[in-house]
C-alpha cells in the first residue's frame, strides 16, 4: 500500500494528475480523450482508431474481468496510454486469460490508475480534447507539461499508414474466428450466414476485427487491402463490393484514400464505417471538422431521419461533418446524432453508397445497428442482380 510506482499525466493547459503506474514503464505523448463505455476496455485498448491517443475511462472500476484473446480488436493495444480511476486487483471472469496490467506491460503500454478521471473528463469536455503526456517513469511536472505542449497534435497527421495492414490478405476464409460470441444454452443471437457469398474489398485504415467478422457472418468473403492500395489493385480483385473501415486520426490527412475511394465508388456498392464514413465524406468533396471532445462511448443516440427510428450506438470519433456541408456536395444525410445533431450517416443520391459515423459492429457497445450489415448485403445483392 502506497509503495507502488507513481506516474503522471500532464495536459497542454498545464494541469497535472498524479496516480499509480501500471503496465509498462514509459513516457508517451498523445491526445487525451475520454470514453464513457461502462464495459469493453479491452476492445477500446485494441481499437486502432485510438492510435496516438491517451484514453481515459469514465467508468471507475476497470480491469475487473481481465483480458481474453477472443475480444481483441487488432493484434494488441493501440492506445498510447490508459488512464483509470481504480484498477482491479483480480480478473474475475470465466473467460479471463490474463490481467489488464500484465497485458499492458506485455505490450509496452503505460497505464495510470488512481486518477480523478471525472475531474479530467470535465476538463476535456469544457476545454476540448488536449495534447497530453503520460509517464510512468520519473518525470517532473514541468517536463511532462513541456512534452505535452511540444507534441504537434493529430490535426493534419496521417496515422492510418501506421496501423493499416502491410499487404492484402483474405480474412478468415474458413470462418474460424468469425463465430459470434455465444454461451451454452442461449441461442438468441444465432445468425446463419447466407448461402450466396459476395466478395468485398475491405480497406483497412486501422480496422477493428469485429467489422470483418460481421461482414463475414453476413455473407461476405472479405479481402482486406491496405489503405495505400490503388484503385487498380482493388479492381484487380474483382470485388462485388467495397468496404471502408474505421481508423485513427484526421480524415483530411488521408488524401490518397480520398482519391482512391472517389475513383472506386462509382463502380461498386460501398459501405463505410467511422473513418470510412469520413473518407466517403471527403470523396464526395465535403469537409470534416474536429469536434471539441468527440464522441466516445456506447450510449450515443442516433436518429434515422428517413425512418424516424433511434438506435443506441457505439461511437469513437473526434471528427465529423455537418448536414449543410454534405448536402452541399450532393450527399444525403440519413442519420443524425441526437446529442449534438452532427451527421451520423449518409448515402449517395443515386449510387449504392452509404456510410455511418458509428460502429454497427459494436465491440464494445450495443448490437442495435447490426442490421446495417444486412442492409449492405441486400444492397450488394440487388446491384449484383441488376448487373446480371
Amino acid at each position: 500500500m502506497g509503495t507502488s510506482r507513481s506516474g503522471i499525466l500532464a495536459l497542454e493547459d498545464g494541469s497535472v494528475f498524479r496516480g499509480k503506474a501500471f503496465g509498462a514503464a514509459k513516457t508517451v505523448v498523445g491526445e487525451a480523450v475520454f470514453n464513457t463505455s461502462m464495459t469493453g476496455y479491452q476492445e477500446i485498448l485494441t481499437d486502432p482508431s485510438y492510435y496516438a491517443q491517451i484514453v481515459t475511462m469514465t467508468a471507475s472500476q476497470i480491469g475487473n474481468y481481465g483480458i481474453t484473446a477472443d475480444d481483441e480488436e487488432s493484434d494488441g493495444p493501440k492506445v498510447s496510454a490508459f488512464v483509470i480511476r481504480d484498477l482491479s486487483p483480480v480478473s474475475s471472469n470465466w473467460r479471463s486469460q490474463m490481467s489488464l496490467p500484465e497485458y499492458l506491460e506485455k505490450h509496452g503500454i503505460p497505464g495510470l490508475s488512481g486518477i480523478d478521471t471525472r475531474a479530467l473528463t470535465k476538463r476535456l469536455r469544457v476545454d476540448g480534447a488536449m495534447k497530453a503526456c503520460l509517464s510512468t517513469e520519473d518525470l517532473s511536472d514541468e517536463e511532462a507539461v513541456k512534452r505535452a505542449k511540444e507534441w504537434p497534435g493529430l490535426i493534419g497527421v496521417d496515422y492510418v499508414k501506421d496501423v493499416t495492414c502491410k499487404a492484402s490478405y483474405h480474412f478468415d476464409p474458413e470462418g474460424k474466428i468469425s463465430k459470434p460470441f455465444s454461451i451454452p444454452g442461449t441461442t438468441l443471437n444465432k445468425h446463419t450466414r447466407p448461402e450466396k457469398v459476395f466478395k468485398v474489398a475491405a480497406f483497412d485504415f486501422g480496422a477493428k476485427r469485429s467489422i470483418f467478422k460481421r461482414l463475414h457472418n453476413h455473407g461476405f468473403d472479405v479481402h482486406v487491402v491496405p489503405a495505400t492500395a490503388t484503385a487498380e489493385e482493388v479492381k484487380a480483385l474483382k470485388p462485388d463490393a467495397l468496404f471502408l473501415s474505421n481508423g485513427p486520426g484526421d480524415p483530411a490527412a488521408v488524401t490518397y484514400a480520398h482519391k482512391t475511394v472517389s475513383e472506386l465508388m462509382p463502380h461498386y456498392p460501398t459501405f463505410g464505417i467511422c473513418l470510412g464514413h469520413q473518407i466517403i465524406t471527403h470523396a464526395l468533396g465535403a469537409k470534416t471538422i474536429k469536434l471539441k471532445f468527440g464522441h466516445r462511448g456506447g450510449n450515443q443516440p442516433v436518429k434515422n431521419i428517413e425512418t424516424g427510428n433511434v438506435a443506441i450506438t457505439a461511437q469513437n470519433h473526434g471528427f465529423a461533418s455537418t448536414r449543410e456541408e454534405i448536402e452541399k456536395c450532393g450527399g444525403v444525410v440519413t442519420e443524425l446524432n441526437l446529442n449534438d445533431e452532427t451527421v451520423a450517416g449518409l448515402r449517395h443520391k443515386e449510387l449504392p453508397i452509404f456510410s455511418v459515423q458509428y460502429h454497427p459492429e459494436a465491440a464494445p457497445g450495443p448490437n442495435d445497428a447490426d442490421p446495417l450489415f444486412t442492409q449492405f448485403y441486400d444492397m450488394v445483392a440487388q446491384a449484383h442482380k441488376a448487373s446480371a
Binding site: F34, T58, A59, T121, L188, N367
Partner: protein, 1076 residues
C-alpha cells in the same frame, strides 16, 4: 408520435399499504406518474388505500380516492369517473394484480377502459410462470429446469425428474416470493411445497433446478411504442443466487461482466420485453450466470416498474417512472428530454462514473422465533443506498447509512471490533446467508482465512472479496501504523476507501479532531460530485450530489436562504413512509416560500430522494460527520430535524453542539420529553398526571420497583422508537423473563416501568404550535385498549366513544404541554383515559407517524404549515387557528408482515410490528371501519362461520358480540371455555375440540377446509398459549379475517352491520374536504 389526444381521464392504481416487498418506492413511482400525466394535461384519477403517501395528497391527482384496492370498489370509481385508460404498471404488484383482475372480470371492457403500457396478455405472460418459460425457450433464452405443480404428488415427481437437491420452490402470484424457499432434503421439500401451495392463491408452485451460488444480475429496461429499447441500469448482486434480490446487497453498474456478456444480456433483455409484450414503459429482468461456464438463465421479469426501477432511477438520475408514464400516453423516447442534461434526449442509456451499493435493512428482532437466514422469500423492510467513486467507498457509505450501529467495515461500532477469532463462529457466519454475513467476511480476513476459502463458503464473487480484502488490509495497515506515523498519503487512501474520521480515530487511536486537522492541513477534503446520467460528457443542471474525495468540488454557490431537511434513512418498522411524507412536505412548503431546500437522505425508495423534490439533493448517510460536512459546505441557514423520525433526532444534540442552527422546537425540549425526570417535572408544572412510574438501571432494581408499583406493569427501554423491547407484564415471573430484552434494546440506557392502565382508552393527539398559538390537528381514538403500540393500533378520527367533556380536557392538556415544551412545529401526545381520569403516556414534540393520516382526514397539510412555522411564520398568518373536526369518519388500520415470519406471534403488543397502514373514510362509522378492514385485507365476511375464543375478562362483551352475530345469521364455533359462557347465555354455538386435546375435528381442520370465515381470539396473556399461536398463524396464512382484541371485534361487528345494511359508496378526498 406525440401524446395521444383521444384520452382525457387516466386512472392510476397505487400499491396500497406498505408491506414487505412493496414499500414507498411505489409512492415514488406513482407520484412521478401523476405529475408526468398532469403535466401533459390529462385528468388523473388516483386510487390508493395508503394515506401516508405523497401521491394521495390532494394536489397530485385531479381526483384522489383513498379507498380499498378491491375490484368492487374500483368498479364504483370507474363508473363514477369514466376514465378512458388505466395505467397498471406503476402501482407495484398490487396495482398490476388488481388491473389484471379488473380486466378478467370484464369491468374494463364494460366501461370502455383501455389498459395502457401493458395489456392483459402481457401481464399474464410476465406473471404466469409456465407461459413465461415457454416464451423464453421460443426466443432462444435459457431457463432452469422446472415444473409447475398443483399437488404434492406432482411436486415429488418433479423433484425426481430434476434429480438433485437443493431445489427451489416458488409459489405463483405471491408478493416478493412469499411462501417460497430452498429445500436441501426431502423433508424440507415436503414442508416448503405444502406451505407454498397454501400461500399461492391459485394453489400452484414451481419446482425448479437450483442455481444456488450462481451470479445474479438485473437489467432495468425501457421500451416505447416505436419498439425502441434502452437499458437504464445494470445491477449485480453481491449475494449470489439463493437470496431474494430484495434481500441482497446489490451493486450498480454490473462489475464483473465483459462487454460481450453484457451486450448479450442486454439483447436478451430486449428480446424478453418484446416477447412478453410490454408495449411501453419499464421492466426489470433478472438473470443468473454460471461463474464457471457463463451459462445465462433468465430468472424472471416484472412487466412493470419495480423496486429495482426506483433504485435504478436514483442510481442513474434517469426518472424511469416519469418516462414510463409519458411513453404510455404515446410519446417515444426520442421525443422526451433528459431532465438532467436538458439538451440531450431520453433515448439514451445512462452511463455512470461511480459505484452504487444498496444494502437491505432487516428487523428480525421484532419477530422472535423467525428464521434469520435469507432465502428466496423477501424479509427486509427497507434499504439504504450509497454512492461512491469506487466500490469500497460506496460499500462503507452504505453500511453506515443502514443505521444498525455499524460504522462501515471496521473501525468500532457494531461488528467493527477486531476481537472475534472463534473460527467456528466465523465459518458459521460465512456459511449462512444472513444480514450479517458481510461482517463475517471481514472477520475471516482479519483472522487470516484465505480468500479462496471464504469464496467456498459464501460464493461471493472473488471481485467483491478482493475489494473487501483490500479494505481490511487497509484497516490492518492503519492499526499497525497508528496516528503518530500516519502519512497524508495513507490518510487520503483511507478516506477514498470510505473510512469516516470516526472509524479512523478508532483505528489510529486518536481523537476525531486530530484526523480532521490533519485532513485540513493536507487538503484532504470532502468534495461533492454530481449524479448526471452521462459521466460528465454533458453539462448537468440538476443539483443531485454525493460525497467523495478528489480534485474537484462541483457544488455551486447560491445567495438564497437555505434550509436543510434531514430524512429518515432506510425504512424500518416504526420509521417509514410517514416521515418521508413530512420531509417532502417541508421541502415543498419552504420552496414555495422562497427558500432553497437541501435534502439529505439515504433511502432510494422515497419521494424525498427524487431529484426534483428539493433544490438540492444529497444522497448521503445520515451520520453526524456526513451531515455536518454538507451543512458547512452548503452554508445552510437552518436544519429541520423533527420530520425524519428518530434518525435526525438522534443527531440533533450533537449537531447543535457543532454550531448547527436547528429550527423548530429545540433539541433540549425534545430530549426533555424523552427524559423521565424532566418530563415528570413538566407534567407536574402543567398539572397533568401520568401512570405511576419509576426508572430502573439494573434488572434487580426493576424487580424491586415493580413490587412498589404493582402489576400489571409496562416495561420499556428509553430512547427507542417503535416500542422496541416493550412489554406488559402481569407478574414477577413474566417480569424476570423479559427484563433482559428491555435492557438490551437500548444498551447502557435505563429501563422505564409504568403502571399499566388495563382496559384504558388510548388517544393520540397531533397538534401544531408556533410558540403562541397551538391548534389540535386531530384526535385519534384507539380501537384497541391501551397496551397496543400506537403504530399498530386501529384508530378513529374524530374520537367515537369519548364525550365532549373529556375531549375538552384533552385539548387544554395539549395546549399546556405545547406551551411548556415551547413547541415550534408539530407535537404528538398519547393519552390514556381510565375511569374518567386523563393520563399522559407520552409526548413527542416532533412529527408523528399519524401526521399524514390526520392531514388527509382534516384536509390541512400539517407538515407544510409546521415547516413554515419553523421558518418563522405564525399560524394566524397562514389562516389555521381553529381545530377542524370532520363530520365523517376516518379509520386507520395497520397492516402486518406476519405471513413473512412464520412462527412469530401475531398478537398486538406494545412492540410495533406493522409495516404499513390504510385509511377507511365514510360518513358512517361502521362503513369506515369496514372499508379500513377491506383495505387492510382480509375483508370482513358478510356471512359464514365464526370461531370465537376469548380470554376471561372479555367474556361478557363477547357474549354481546356473539348474540349479534347469530342474529345476523352467522354460525358460531367455540372450544369448551367460551362455549360454556355462550350456552349459559343462550347463544347457540357448536363446540370444537381444543388442539391440545388431540381429538378431531378441531378448528385447525375447519380452517384448512376453508370453513372458518372470521376468528375472534383474544390472547390470554403476554405470552400466548401454543394453541392460540397455531390457530392465528394458520388464519394469517389462509388470509382469514382475525380479531385479536375484543374492541377490535366490536368494531368488526359494526363494520359487518354497515356492510350488510347498505352498499358501500366511494368518495374522493377532494369531495370530503370541500365540505369542511
Amino acid at each position: 408520435m406525440p401524446k395521444r389526444t383521444d384520452l382525457e381521464t387516466i386512472l392510476i392504481i397505487g400499491s396500497g399499504p406498505i408491506v414487505i416487498g412493496q414499500a414507498c418506492e411505489f409512492d415514488y413511482s406513482g407520484t412521478q406518474a401523476c405529475k408526468a400525466l398532469r403535466e401533459e394535461g390529462y385528468r388523473v384519477v388516483l386510487v390508493n388505500s395508503n394515506p401516508a403517501t405523497i401521491m394521495t395528497d390532494p394536489d397530485f391527482a385531479d381526483v384522489t380516492y383513498i379507498e380499498p384496492l378491491v375490484p368492487e370498489i374500483l368498479e364504483k370509481i370507474i363508473a363514477r369517473e369514466k376514465p378512458q385508460a388505466l395505467l397498471p404498471t406503476l402501482g407495484g404488484q398490487t396495482g398490476l394484480n388488481l388491473s389484471l383482475k379488473l380486466a378478467e372480470l370484464g369491468i374494463l371492457e364494460k366501461y370502455g377502459v383501455e389498459l395502457i403500457g401493458a395489456k392483459k396478455e402481457a401481464i399474464e405472460r410476465g406473471e404466469d410462470r409456465e407461459k413465461f418459460r415457454q416464451i423464453m425457450l421460443q426466443i432462444g433464452l435459457d431457463i432452469p429446469e422446472s415444473y409447475t405443480v398443483h399437488t404434492m404428488d406432482a411436486a415429488r415427481e418433479a423433484a425426481e425428474k430434476i434429480g438433485q437437491y437443493p431445489l427451489i420452490i416458488r409459489p405463483s402470484y405471491t408478493l416478493g416470493g412469499t411462501g417460497g424457499g430452498i429445500a436441501y432434503n426431502k423433508e424440507e421439500f415436503e414442508d416448503i411445497v405444502a406451505f407454498g401451495l397454501d400461500a399461492s392463491p391459485v394453489t400452484e408452485v414451481l419446482v425448479e433446478e437450483c442455481l444456488l451460488g450462481w451470479k445474479e444480475y438485473e437489467m432495468e429496461v425501457m421500451r416505447d411504442h416505436k419498439d425502441q429499447c434502452v437499458v437504464i441500469c445494470s445491477i449485480e448482486n453481491l449475494d449470489p443466487m439463493g437470496v431474494h434480490t430484495g434481500d441482497s446487497i446489490t451493486i450498480a453498474p454490473a462489475m464483473t461482466l465483459s462487454d460481450k456478456e453484457y451486450q448479450l444480456m442486454r439483447d436478451a433483455s430486449f428480446a424478453v420485453i418484446r416477447a412478453i409484450g410490454v408495449e411501453t414503459g419499464g421492466s426489470n429482468i433478472q438473470f443468473a450466470t454460471d461463474p464457471e461456464t457463463g451459462r445465462m438463465i433468465v430468472i424472471e421479469m416484472n412487466p412493470r416498474v419495480s423496486r429495482s426501477s426506483a433504485l435504478a432511477s436514483k442510481a442513474t438520475g434517469f426518472p424511469i417512472a416519469k418516462i414510463a408514464a409519458k411513453l404510455a400516453v404515446g410519446y417515444s423516447l426520442d421525443e422526451l428530454r433528459n431532465d438532467i442534461t436538458r439538451e440531450t434526449p431520453a433515448s439514451f442509456e445512462p452511463t455512470i462514473d461511480y459505484v452504487v451499493t444498496k444494502i437491505p435493512r432487516f428487523t428480525f428482532e421484532k419477530f422472535s422465533g423467525a428464521d434469520k437466514t435469507l432465502t428466496s422469500s423477501m424479509k427486509s423492510v427497507g434499504e439504504a443506498m450509497a454512492i461512491g467513486r469506487t466500490f469500497k467507498e460506496s460499500l462503507q457509505k452504505a453500511l453506515r447509512s443502514l443505521e444498525i450501529g455499524a460504522r462501515g467495515l471496521g473501525g468500532g461500532g457494531k461488528f467493527g471490533d477486531r476481537d472475534l477469532s472463534d473460527d467456528g463462529a466465523i465459518r458459521a457466519g460465512l456459511a449462512h446467508p444472513t444480514s450479517e454475513r458481510l461482517f463475517y467476511v471481514r472477520y475471516a480476513f482479519i483472522n487470516g482465512m484465505s480468500l479462496d476459502e471464504i469464496f467456498r463458503y459464501t460464493k461471493i464473487d472473488p471481485w467483491f472479496l478482493h475489494q473487501i480484502r483490500e479494505i481490511v488490509e487497509l484497516e490492518n495497515t492503519l492499526v499497525e501504523t497508528g496516528f503518530s506515523k500516519l502519512t497524508p498519503e495513507l490518510l487520503r487512501e483511507a478516506k477514498e476507501a470510505g473510512f469516516t474520521d470516526k472509524q479512523l480515530g478508532e483505528l489510529l487511536g486518536t481523537k476525531i479532531r486530530n484526523i480532521k486537522k490533519m485532513r485540513e492541513d493536507n487538503g484532504i477534503n470532502t468534495v461533492y460530485r454530481l449524479v448526471d446520467t452521462c459521466a460528465a460528457e454533458f453539462e448537468a443542471f440538476t443539483p443531485y450530489f454525493y460525497s467523495s474525495y478528489g480534485l474537484e468540488n462541483e457544488i455551486t454557490s447560491s445567495d438564497k436562504k437555505k434550509i436543510m431537511i434531514l430524512g429518515g434513512g432506510p425504512n424500518r418498522i416504526g420509521q417509514g413512509i410517514e416521515f418521508d411524507y413530512c420531509c417532502v412536505h417541508a421541502s415543498f412548503a419552504l420552496r414555495e416560500q422562497g427558500y432553497e431546500t437541501v435534502m439529505v437522505n439515504s433511502n432510494p425508495e422515497t419521494v424525498s430522494t427524487d431529484y426534483d423534490t428539493s433544490d438540492r439533493l444529497y444522497f448521503e448517510p445520515l451520520t453526524l460527520e456526513d451531515v455536518l460536512e454538507i451543512y458547512k459546505q452548503e452554508k445552510c441557514d437552518g436544519v429541520i430535524v423533527q420530520f425524519g423520525g428518530q434518525t435526525p433526532l438522534n443527531l440533533a444534540t450533537e449537531l447543535q453542539n457543532n454550531g448547527v442552527n436547528i429550527i423548530g422546537t429545540s433539541p433540549e425540549m425534545i430530549d426533555a420529553a424523552e427524559d423521565r425526570k424532566l418530563f415528570k417535572d413538566i407534567l407536574h408544572r402543567v398539572g397533568l398526571q401520568q401512570p405511576i412510574n419509576a426508572i430502573a438501571h439494573t434488572p434487580e432494581q426493576a424487580y424491586e420497583l415493580a413490587g412498589e408499583i404493582g402489576f400489571p406493569i409496562l416495561l420499556r427501554p428509553s430512547f427507542v422508537l417503535g416500542g422496541r423491547g416493550m412489554f406488559i407484564v402481569y407478574d414477577m415471573e413474566e417480569m424476570k423473563r423479559v427484563v433482559r430484552g428491555a435492557f438490551d434494546a437500548a444498551p447502557g440506557k435505563p429501563v422505564l416501568l409504568d403502571k399499566f392502565l388495563e382496559d384504558a382508552i388510548e388517544l393520540d393527539v397531533d397538534a401544531i404550535s408556533d410558540g403562541e398559538t397551538t391548534v389540535v390537528g386531530g384526535m385519534l381514538e384507539h380501537i384497541e385498549f391501551a397496551g397496543v403500540h400506537s403504530g399498530d393500533a386501529a384508530m378513529v378520527l374524530p374520537p367515537h366513544t369519548l364525550d365532549r367533556g373529556i375531549l375538552d380536557t384533552v385539548r387544554e392538556a395539549t395546549y399546556a404541554l405545547a406551551k411548556e415544551l415551547e413547541v415550534i412545529g408539530l407535537m404528538n401526545v398519547q393519552y390514556a383515559i381510565k375511569d374518567g381520569e386523563l393520563y399522559v403516556l407520552e409526548v413527542n414534540p416532533r412529527a408523528s407517524r399519524t401526521v399524514p393520516f390526520v392531514s388527509k382526514a382534516i384536509g390541512v397539510p400539517l407538515a407544510k404549515l409546521a415547516s413554515r412555522i419553523m421558518a418563522g411564520e405564525k399560524l394566524a398568518d397562514m389562516g389555521f387557528t381553529k381545530e377542524i373536526v370532520p363530520h365523517y369518519w376516518a379509520v386507520k388500520e395497520a397492516v402486518f408482515p406476519f405471513a413473512r415470519f412464520p412462527g412469530a406471534p401475531i398478537t398486538l403488543s406494545p412492540e410495533m410490528r406493522s409495516t404499513g397502514e390504510v385509511m377507511g373514510l365514510d360518513y358512517d362509522l361502521g362503513t369506515a371501519m369496514a372499508k379500513a378492514q377491506m383495505a387492510a385485507q382480509p375483508a370482513l365476511p358478510l356471512e359464514g362461520n365464526v370461531f370465537l375464543s376469548v380470554k376471561k375478562g372479555d367474556k361478557d362483551r363477547a357474549v354481546n358480540i356473539a348474540r349479534e352475530l347469530v342474529r345476523l345469521g352467522y354460525n358460531l364455533f367455540s372450544t369448551a371455555g367460551t362455549a360454556r359462557v355462550l350456552e349459559e347465555n343462550n347463544v347457540p354455538v357448536s363446540r370444537l375440540f381444543k388442539l391440545s386435546e388431540g381429538a378431531r375435528p378441531n378448528v385447525l381442520d375447519m380452517l384448512k377446509n376453508d370453513q372458518i370465515d372470521l376468528i375472534i381470539n383474544t390472547p390470554s396473556g403476554q405470552t400466548p398459549r401454543a394453541d392460540e399461536n397455531i390457530i392465528r398463524s394458520e388464519a394469517v396464512m389462509r388470509r382469514v379475517c382475525i380479531m385479536t382484541t375484543i374492541t377490535g371485534a366490536e368494531a368488526a361487528l359494526e363494520g359487518i352491520k354497515a356492510l350488510r345494511n347498505s352498499p358501500v359508496e366511494v368518495r374522493a378526498i377532494q369531495e370530503y374536504s370541500r365540505e369542511l
